[in-house]
């Protein structure tokens, strides 16, 4: 029965995706993306991926929509209609789709426990995590422990992308028209403002809960960072850009971005200094399992700090810019 729900969600997903591509108004397309993301998150949840669903919800429904909207406010919302029928792209896509669907008949059916994916390292992770790491969330253990090298690389990509946004949008900040009143956000709407202000502490608290409970339930640095960023952005939306910037100036944000990645790498090097390999946490404590837990906590904290800093900085970079003439 739950599988049937999955089918319905996937079908709705297809309808939404077609609508996103077809609609001529970009504003509408972005709103449909928000629905697309919610559907995707629900699908992930039905496919037993609680951590991924949490990330998709926090990123897709929250930050992704907000960033697209912030950019659209600078770009404009209309797409030019093209007269020519795109026969060639359609032909390419039809052919590729046919090939790929033909290939799927060789894939094991959904949920087959004998599928090749499940034979190699995954059983080892599931078996060894309680013993070696002493945590119940295998995803967190693999993310911050067994495959921490990979995660460090991803954090550096996020950091680079964040600095890229800041550098590209850095120049010509105050060049707009002076007669425009400063953006005040939703300050004149009393009820949303009061409720929103009431919500911010809960959002941040929930983010911190995910950050520190990530070893035992769904959660971890990536999800927590995204949710805390949404809380901070909500403050900027309610009180206006200037107030949002005042609590976390760009200098502090760049410090957070770099500091989180630095913390991650420093934990790795500390492991080397204590006689292990890079990103081996077992030397942090007399008991190797406790050492692993401490290391995972520190690394996840680094991830959370970098993700929060990057997302908030990207939001400010778009929201603070003057709309070009």
């Amino acid at each position: 029965m739950v599988t049937a729900f999955g089918f319905v969600l996937l079908t709705l997903l297809l309808v939404t995706a077609v609508a996103i591509v077809v609609t001529p108004n970009l504003f509408v397309a972005v709103m449909l993306t928000s629905i697309f993301s919610l559907l995707m998150a629900a699908t992930f949840f039905l496919l037993d991926a609680a951590d991924v669903a949490l990330t998709e919800a926090a990123i897709g429904a929250g930050m992704s929509t907000i960033l697209f909207l912030g950019a659209l406010a600078l770009i404009g919302e209309h797409e030019a209609r093209r007269r020519r029928r795109p026969w060639l792209p359609l032909a390419v896509i039809g052919l590729t789709a046919f090939t790929l669907i033909y290939a799927t008949f060789d894939k094991p059916r959904l949920g087959d426990p004998a599928a090749p994916v499940h034979q190699h390292v995954a059983p080892w992770y599931l078996e060894q995590t309680p013993e070696l790491m002493g945590m119940s969330n295998v995803v967190t253990a693999v993310l911050a422990g067994f495959r921490a090298y990979d995660t460090l690389g991803e954090v550096l990509v996020i950091l680079t992308a964040g600095f890229g946004v800041l550098l590209i949008l850095a120049e010509r900040r105050a060049g707009g028209r002076p007669d425009r009143p400063p953006a005040v956000g939703l300050r004149h709407h009393l009820i949303p403002r009061v409720v929103g202000q009431l919500l911010i502490p809960f959002i941040v608290l929930f983010g911190l809960y995910l950050q520190f409970h990530g070893e035992f339930g769904p959660g971890g640095g990536f999800q927590a960072g995204a949710i805390i960023a949404v809380g901070i952005v909500l403050h900027a939306l309610l009180e206006g850009e200037a107030a949002g910037r005042a609590i976390l100036p760009t200098r502090v944000l760049t410090g957070l971005m770099a500091g989180g990645a630095f913390l991650f790498a420093a934990v790795g090097i500390a492991g080397m200094l204590l006689g292990g390999e890079f990103l081996d946490y077992s030397g942090f404590s007399a008991d190797p399992v406790a050492g692993q837990q401490l290391g995972v906590h520190l690394v996840e904290a680094g991830v959370g700090i970098t993700v929060t800093g990057t997302l908030v900085a990207a939001f400010h970079a778009f929201a603070d810019r003057e709309r070009p003439a």
């Binding site: 939703l186 709407h189 009820i191 949303p192 409720v195 929103g196 009431l198 919500l199 809960f202």
Partner: protein
């Protein structure tokens, strides 16, 4: 036994109201009436559905979480509807609403 019957009744009613609200949000003629239908799913539908689950789970951490979810939904739902109605009413380019709010 009584609790089971009660929670099933609540879930059934909740599903019914959610569906009616969805139907209304699709079929009613203009924004304000649609908003009214959609808020039915937000208040009564949410209350009954989550209440039905709560009765099944008894006194546990799950119930506390469900209460928290219910609290946030009941707080944000009307606020979002209010902000939306406000923005729609004062948007200059749509003109005055067809029916009086």
């Amino acid at each position: 036994m009584i609790i089971d019957a009660l929670s099933f009744a609540m879930l059934a009613l909740g599903g019914f109201f959610v569906f009616m609200g969805g139907l209304g949000a699709l079929r009613l003629p203009d924004l304000y009436t649609r908003m009214h239908a959609a808020s039915l799913t937000d208040s009564l539908g949410t209350l009954l559905t989550l209440g039905g689950i709560m009765l099944q789970s008894g006194w546990s951490l799950a119930t506390v979480k469900l209460l928290t979810i219910l609290f946030f939904l009941l707080m944000t739902g009307p606020t979002a509807t209010y902000a939306l109605a406000n923005a729609a009413l004062f948007s200059r380019d749509d003109g005055p609403p067809a029916t009086a709010p």
